[in-house]
Amino acid sequence: MDLELSEEEAALRDNVRAVLASICPPAVVRAAYEGKGDPASVWARMVELDWPALAIPERHGGLGMGFVEVALVAEEIGRAVVPGPFLATVTEFAPAVQELGGDGPLAAELLGRVAAGDTTGTVALAEGGRWEPAAVVATAQPAGGGWVLQGAKDAVLDGAEAGEAVVVARAARTSGAEGLGAFVVPRADLAATPRTVIDPTLPLADLVLDGVAVPADRVLAEPGAAGVAEALDRAGQQAIVALAASTVGACRAIFERTVEYAKDRVQFGRPIGSFQALKHRMADMYLAVERATSLVWFAALAIAEDDPRRAEAASMAKAAAGECQRLVVQDGLQLHGGIGMTWENDLHFLLKRALSGDALYGNAVHHRSRLARTLGLLPQERIEEVVA
């Protein structure tokens, strides 16, 4: 196993970092926080640079790169606290379309539009705060040659902004992995209520599906079709690892800022970074960041090479990113002292991004509980009983 970036991978990472430093400096993040900026311009530049096309197959107009490259970009997106549709579109929507829609005409159309920057997208999966497909209770009923969706979705990333949403719903009177289907719904057809969240660069919305009509040609996967649950899992793993990468990117930035601050800030006549009590905490922050980064890269590789360990690796990466966030946000803020508590200092953008990245797509507690089941330490729970 070779877990260091190749020259090409490192060059991609460096290039993305340099571009983001120029198109998304802290002033842009601050503007997004204060509702003054225009995040669309950041996205427009990414489209010009073909970032949405990165992992889309060449036959659909993409660049045909792999998931490792996606994860590297996601890490940098978190590091620069980039607002806008990259994560939802490239790491949720496109993988869901590809895994669920296969080589069908709808998938070809949507992937082509994403690659060209003609649409943004998201996935409406979670219900009742749970992210497993088995927890879905929203229903899809056949009607007039198409389908009608009924139910509610929560915490949809970019749910009020994305051009298209993949909505997961199930056939009536089915449960668990049975009867699941996926539908492509344009924003205009969804009643989205934006949530007021601590990090506006990761905007969430709740959706009400009150008799949403979906024509037959917008069905990505018919309810009950073979392999829908598995395709949702595979797409979900990509969203999870990209989010973990992004969270780790924010954590690394917090850690680096904290070390620099500790070298500069003088108290008692010496830099506070010379005190052993603080040194050891920064050594532990460093470990947490490197530990999570290593697991994220391994998970990205497992997905890119379609290794059978991909599900377990994804949960480990997300759990480690969440644990990393807990330590780095806490000690990063603590070591900055009073200045870290102010709105004027840019640190809080990173803190909130790291924390929000843990909360989405199952936090560390959730993924550890998944692992407890896959490792045979806890019985498989029947999600529908939990939901009921």
């Binding site: 070779d2 070298k263 040194k279 050594a283 490197e290 480990m316 692992l371």
Partner: protein, 393 residues
Amino acid sequence: VKLSFGDEVEAFRQEFRAWLEENRPSAEEMAAEPAISSAHVPGWASRWARRLFDAGWLVPGWPPKRGGRNAGPVETLVYLEELTKAGVPRTTNPQGLGIVAPSILDYGSDEQIRDYAMPILRGEKSACLGMSEPGAGSDLASLSTRAVLDGDRIVIDGQKVWTSGANDADFCFLFCRTNPEAPKHKGISVVLVDMATPGITVRPLAEIAKPEHPDLNEVFLSEVVVPRENLVGKLNDGWAMANGSLAHERGMVWLSFVVTLEEDIAAVLAEAPAALERLAPAERAVVADGLVASAIDSAAARCLGYRGFAKLVRGGSAPEQALMKAYTSEAKRRLALRAAELGTDHTVDIGSTAASDPTWIERYFVSFGGTISAGSSEIQRNIIAEKVLGLPR
């Protein structure tokens, strides 16, 4: 990044695997005469070292005359992986093969290489490493064992402690002070001392668990006389060797940290489902979460180690390596306690005979050896903070 190193390396793996299958000591042979200290070389271990040496499989990265085959670092990693999978120790004198012999090969005279380093490689001699003293533990440079040059002899007086394997070693790679006037890092030299030399008293230190099998010792040196040609390298140049020794130790030693952690978690996960059955649901969820944390620790250790290794192979520096010792030893310690707690009412049981395998609560206490010795976790954090993060002293 890639999951595999490629076909050529896999072919190398197959070649070694086939040789190992033919030549390895059997499990019965090893069980009949276990090594009881880190410098005890039972008959099978001596014969095994010789077979490895002759076939160029002892230190694959070295040239054939030193028991290698000029293999690259990736091949060496694969070789160590295969040895581990087969459950065969590479040596029963790890500090001899891993630190003392390479240091003598780097710094020693031709005679020292012939009389001390090569016999270690061929399984004919074993060595201990005389570093720590009562007044010089983490602060090794404060050591005070005195070596006085007197014509063609060196006279040594002092005391060492925590010397692994001194009770079975043939000779000691001894750090001593040769210039008390110089700043403390600049007055240290290394001398090779046969353990049978008059004036040496070894007192084994019974340990916190399994007191009947001591590996740590106190070594008292009183007017110990050795020939001047036993000085290794230049006079007062010992501190460079101390750092060099530890570098040898840290080169590939991370893999053994990773592998032993993986063996531990595999053993615990195998026994856990049955043990968890006995717990109430709420207890079960708490205990299971701890074991999951250990499973993540173990996977992360492997990923961290391989990532650092990949950086070294590319010719860069690998700050991850500095993390590995503290991280893996602390992860092992956490796991041992969780495993002990998994035993619920049996947590406090220990083996009823000296030959019993240590129970988890004994292993918990033993695990502190990893977080205390060879640079404690606290020293490791200082090193990371100062050398890697660049924080001021």
